[in-house]
């Protein structure tokens, strides 16, 4: 589904963001991209959706030579990819509803499809009651969920998610992850950059770890942290007086506001009618 072959990306100013990366991701896989800040996770996702061109190497996405195609073919490629951006990238002059509908409109879906799909997806991410708000009227987490909704509303072949839970509390994060998991189970390939070790550790999927632009680990059913690495210093300073430490919290199911995600998801995934 996605293949990167010896990909190197050098930004202007001689910044090496990816170095000789080779990854092959099959149809239906769920891949976590992990690594410290600035290690090149977003760069890899940007390369996959052809927001950037590699300085070297080749990229194939959904059977197309993404790194080599002419500019006018790019929109077509992007329509088969749903993307959750790290900085959301919502259109400030469009409402929540319109932002999500936009992803359907670019593919020319008839209006009745838009009218039935968008509300369902918004319900899924728990934003039904905020459909008519503008992005600046939303909290950070709500904006992030709009970005998530827009990414999968047109049932893409590939879903690229750049820290889709960075602004969400653990409960809502789990809700979003359940949705991504279900989408993945319907056959969509998911690549997700994340810093949330709780999620990575609970889901145990393929983990690709980056460091300074290089792939340093590619492990199926991996965890966030490589166990071989030693802890390199004293822990965070606790409050002066000792207290009873509670057990570490377990990831919980989503408390998405409007309805239980399971039923919502069923309704949404069964209503695919018009869209092939």
């Amino acid at each position: 589904m996605i293949r990167l072959q010896n990909v190197t990306k050098v930004y202007e100013g001689n910044v090496i963001a990816s170095k000789d990366v080779t990854i092959e991701i099959s149809r239906g896989e769920f891949v976590f991209l992990v690594g410290p800040s600035g290690s090149g996770k977003s760069t890899l996702l940007r390369l996959m959706m052809r927001e950037e061109k590699p300085s070297n190497g080749d990229i194939w996405v959904a059977g197309k030579h993404a790194s080599g195609m002419p500019g006018w073919k790019v929109p077509h490629l992007r329509r088969s990819i749903g993307t959750v951006f790290q900085d959301f990238k919502l259109l400030p002059t469009k409402t929540v509803y319109e932002n999500v509908a936009f992803a359907l409109e670019v593919t020319g879906r008839p209006r009745h499809v838009v009218r039935s799909q968008v509300p369902q997806v918004l319900k899924l991410v728990g934003l039904s009651s905020k459909a008519d708000r503008y992005p600046r009227q939303l909290s950070g987490g709500e904006q992030q969920r709009v970005s998530v909704a827009r990414a999968f509303v047109n049932r893409p072949l590939i879903l690229l998610a750049d820290e889709p839970t960075g602004n969400l509390d653990p409960a809502t994060s789990v809700g979003i992850m359940r949705i991504l998991d279900r989408i993945n189970r319907t056959g969509t390939t998911v690549v997700m950059a994340t810093h949330d070790h709780a999620i990575v550790d609970a889901m145990r999927r393929r983990v690709v770890q980056l460091e300074r632009g290089r792939v340093v680990r590619d492990q199926s059913r991996g965890v966030y942290e490589r166990r071989t690495e030693p802890a390199s210093g004293p822990p965070l300073p606790p409050s002066e007086e000792p207290v009873v430490t509670p057990p570490p919290p377990e990831p919980e199911i989503a408390k998405v506001e409007d309805a239980a995600p399971t039923e919502e998801f069923k309704a949404w995934s069964e209503s695919g009618g018009e869209a092939s």
Binding site: P75, L77, R78, I81, K89, A103, V106, G108, P110, R150
Partner: protein, 301 residues
């Protein structure tokens, strides 16, 4: 397949219209700025065109008085001559001025040349009778002059050559000047409007970038902006025409009586040029947005 494609097209048209109107509704500052620029520049262009037309109408009136004068022998057959001349295609009208009438006229014309006047008064009969001939086209006076020269009964032909040429040249200068001004203003209008729309698009560069990232094709992103440019151009042009016509009608009522030159302009002229100005606005709006979309690096793929 056919039907589906047809419906897709309809969807897109609807989308484009929607999008353009939403943009206009949600970015009032930018849109008002663009319309203002179109309005001011086209206002100036249209005002210049009208001033030019007023000059043209007025200088045209001067030439109403242009006549070729054929002085007649005392024994000329006035009626035959007159009928003959009236039949020429170059001639519009012929008047006969008898000897006594000519004397009266001379007294008036030379009122401030006392010395000449005194001489005249001594011999009123030296002023001959004449036919005054109005040419259809002011430029044809020399053709008429030549034909008259050879006619029996005409002893001398006169026309204010220098005066006619001067009038023509003033008219020409005025017309050239107002045309040049209108063109200069038109060019300035194109540049200013394109510039304004360019900045309006720059102000929304992030939107455009995001649209492309979500998979919108070139025309899906561009068409609403092009349409928006056209609408802004249309509105700016329409406001300019409305304001000018309003001011003009207002000015006409209060000014016409005081001045000897007419300010009246053919209402057909107003209509035609008003329409032209509005069309011009729309085209410039289209060009402006087209150019900025082409130039703007945020929208290029």
């Amino acid at each position: 397949m056919e039907r589906k494609r047809g419906r897709g097209l309809l969807m897109r048209i609807q989308y484009v219209l929607n999008e353009a109107f939403n943009n206009i509704r949600r970015n009032p500052l930018v849109v008002v700025g663009a319309i203002l620029a179109v309005f001011i520049t086209l206002f100036l262009v249209f005002a210049t065109l009208i001033a030019g037309e007023i000059a043209r109408v007025n200088t045209l009136r001067w030439t109403d008085d242009v006549r070729v004068i054929a002085f007649l022998d005392d024994d000329a057959d006035v009626d035959t001559l007159r009928a003959d001349i009236e039949s020429w295609v170059e001639v519009e009208e012929v008047f006969y001025v008898s000897k006594p009438e000519a004397y009266e006229e001379a007294l008036e014309l030379l009122a401030d040349q006392q010395t000449v006047l005194e001489t005249l008064q001594d011999a009123p009969e030296i002023i001959p009778a004449s036919l005054r001939i109005k040419p259809v086209e002011i430029g044809e006076y020399d053709v008429i002059e030549n034909r008259l020269q050879n006619m029996i009964g005409v002893f001398s032909v006169e026309s204010a050559d220098a005066a006619i040429d001067a009038m023509n040249s003033i008219r020409g200068t005025l017309q050239t000047f107002s045309l040049a001004l209108a063109i200069a203003l038109g060019v300035a209008a194109v540049a200013l409007i394109a510039n304004t729309i360019n900045m309006a698009i720059y102000a929304r560069r992030e939107d455009l970038e995001i649209m492309r990232l979500v998979g919108a094709g070139n025309w899906f992103v561009r068409t609403p902006f092009l349409l928006e440019g056209v609408i802004e151009g249309l509105l700016g042009g329409a406001v300019a025409v409305a304001v000018i016509v309003g001011l003009y009608r207002l000015g006409l009522g209060s000014l016409e009586t005081v001045e000897i030159i007419t300010l009246e302009v053919d209402s057909e002229f107003l209509f035609t040029f008003g329409l032209l100005i509005v069309t011009f606005g729309a085209i410039v709006g289209l060009i402006g947005s087209g150019v900025s979309l082409a130039l703007n690096r945020y929208i290029r793929s």
